[in-house]
Assembly symmetry: C2
Homo-oligomer: 408 residues x 2
């Protein structure tokens, strides 16, 4: 047990170091804001230690507690759900505008809010989306360096390993995390350098194609996704507005680009559950017409899903389409993480909501034909070993991009 | 064990309810900001539940982690200690200005920062004091309702009960907390109503005296504390600027008023250790001349104490003097809490630093002759069963106020 404990501690240190040095790539005298669940306090301390060693001017931790969300929904008076504390977002916006990096430690019970009033959830999510809009613009425009890393929250571990006791489940989830975040084996910095090169090469190859659209086909899916003229494929590390490199998601396996928000047609079926802010949405089936979702159903969480689509006009249109080989390390782990940070890196996916500046030819989505705008941006998985993807050229030619989940 | 656990849960609920209903006296549609250590998450959830039931519009929790302070001091580059994240204070200042109540849950390792560099501590404390000045003005001026309640932090419990295992120590500390906060026995609301009436009566009695000065005498202490002309004694519940009643400290046993910052002379010896921001300062001995501390020593933590006195001109002068009977419930518990929230309610005390508006004839210290100003306000204990206090009238008459720690 002592040896296991030592290994865990060593890997936590490597994850913290990877997050600080590669994820947000903290610079001397730069401030760091860390968002984290209270349960992650041990990992947070290690992150702070690594950040100060890298010269950080200050590490401000914004701890959160999931259970408070449920208490809010269950105990709050009916009148309060359209309010969100803008002052909390504005403080972070100010710090990020002045150069603070933002590191989010994510791990949560995927189905925490099961059974909570969907109407209250929708109102509260919209209020937070409005209060947090400026922050999402900074994040989406890479106006500062940011990153998201995972944490083996006990409730999440139990959802991934339902047959196990809590301690076992947490140990197994940590092992899966350390492996898929490339910190367990070898030198994390070298691992990530090599992997990022591969993702950049893949994005460059797709940028060379100038596809007009992608076509996804498989069980329950026959979807044509038009791409914005001049769209850029991205993946792996990103250069911020200040010219610093950061790695926004750890792990990451995707390359992604910008769909045309009025040129998406057909049907698509989700291939993995989507945990959206504490509600597990499973078995999504939607129909697009002219870019808009005109019919939506889900086996589980349908009301929360439909409320999400109704937040604003752009929430029922696409802002991102991403390709991930079915043979990605996360997919090969055989685990269903019920956590988008992982599952979106195990399968091709689409995101409803706001498009990303990084996929726009000029780096800005404002005024770009076909670029979607919305308060939200939510990824969900549509890929698997049964899905084929074709690239469609403007002149009618068709080229195979993926067959049975693998790049051709 | 199950019954013990049930009792603990019931008492935590009573403490949370007392904090919400009597402490900050939350109003429908009022926002609540809670500051709390991460270890207190269970109590915080109960506070949130009670606050929402009382109609709170939102409960924003600002969790803190003590250990991060130590990591900051130990690992930070030498250049960073004059910085504090003003954006964090400014957010709370904005929310409080718009009416949010502030509830602080306090429990900490009294000697967490032992051995840390005192110079770095002093620089960091000053930076935070400057960034937090606006917040202290809101707090000190009761421009919103606020309260501080205790939490049996394991490290604190072990300091109070050094011979015990952690679980035992925590259980014993909780019991002492529930008893001294008047939530364990009987109806907390009725208990506090009766106690506040008593404190208000004591303050009213002292206000009727119009003493010109107080004289403290006992072992190592011979101190004359001049009082500001028109000073007001206060204690117990306070009315905020908006006319709402709140109870700023739970527990509270003191009545206190405003010393004249240029009319304090003599020597005084501390009777209990002072835990100041993670450093235990013991055996303080100081000499006042013309209101100013001109000589200061301490058996432990002398460097941190002298740095505190040097923060600014007002840090070496008094801003508060308080009377507490040696027979207070906290004193009778026989425990040395090493936590000012408790120890200041077991003994007469003085505070160096900023004077309090509540003790000023017009409610404002600006422009008031003898009212001290400073970035800090730090209480330390000078009372015991061996201390006598006399009230001195302007015409030379002397009246006994306390004998051997008891009100006459």
């Amino acid at each position: 047990m002592d040896q296991l404990h030592d290994t865990l501690a060593a890997n936590l240190t490597r994850l913290a170091e990877t997050a600080v040095r590669i994820g947000v790539n903290i610079q001397p005298e730069q401030e760091l804001i860390v968002n984290a669940p209270v349960e992650a306090v041990g990992l947070v301390r290690e992150i702070a230690r690594q950040a100060y060693r890298a010269g950080a001017r200050n590490v401000s931790v914004m701890f959160n507690d999931q259970a408070l969300s449920r208490i809010h929904l269950e105990e709050g008076a009916e009148s309060i759900f359209d309010y969100a504390p803008a002052w909390r977002y504005d403080g972070v916006i100010r710090a990020a505008s002045e150069g603070a990096a933002i590191l989010t430690v994510f791990g949560a019970d995927p189905d925490l809010l099961a059974g909570c009033d969907a109407g209250r959830q929708a109102r509260s999510q919209k209020a937070h989306a409005i209060a947090g809009r400026g922050l999402r613009e900074i994040i989406g425009g890479f106006r500062t360096s940011w990153s998201i890393i995972p944490f083996a929250h006990p409730a999440w571990a139990k959802a991934v390993f339902p047959g196990r006791g809590e301690a076992d489940a947490v140990a197994l989830l940590w092992d899966a995390i350390f492996s898929t975040t490339r910190v367990r084996d070898g030198d994390p910095v070298a691992n990530w350098d090599a992997h990022v090169k591969q993702l950049h090469a893949r994005a460059a190859g797709l940028n060379g194609k100038r596809f007009d659209a992608l076509h996804f086909s498989g069980p329950g899916t026959d979807l044509r996704v038009g791409l914005v003229e001049g769209h850029l494929w991205a993946g792996g590390a990103v250069e911020t507005a200040a010219g610093r490199r950061c790695l926004p998601n750890i792990p990451t396996e995707e390359v992604f680009t910008m769909p045309h928000c009025q040129r998406v047609d057909g049907v698509v079926r989700s291939t993995k559950p989507l945990s959206y802010q504490g509600t597990l949405i499973e078995g999504i089936e939607v129909r697009f017409e002219g870019g808009r979702i005109v019919q939506a159903d889900a086996r589980n969480g349908a009301e929360v899903f439909r409320n999400l689509l109704a937040i604003d006009e752009g929430a029922a249109r696409l802002g991102e389409v991403a390709l991930v080989p079915d043979a990605s390390p996360i997919s090969r782990s055989g685990l269903l993480f019920q956590n988008t940070l992982f599952d979106e890196n195990a399968a091709c996916h689409i995101a409803i909501g706001r498009a990303l500046g990084i996929n726009a030819p000029g780096g800005e989505i404002e005024g770009l034909d076909g670029a979607n705008d919305s308060l939200v941006h939510v990824d969900w998985m549509i890929g698997s070993g049964e899905i084929d993807v074709d690239g469609l050229y403007k002149d009618g030619r068709v080229e195979a991009v993926m067959r049975q989940g693998a790049f051709v």
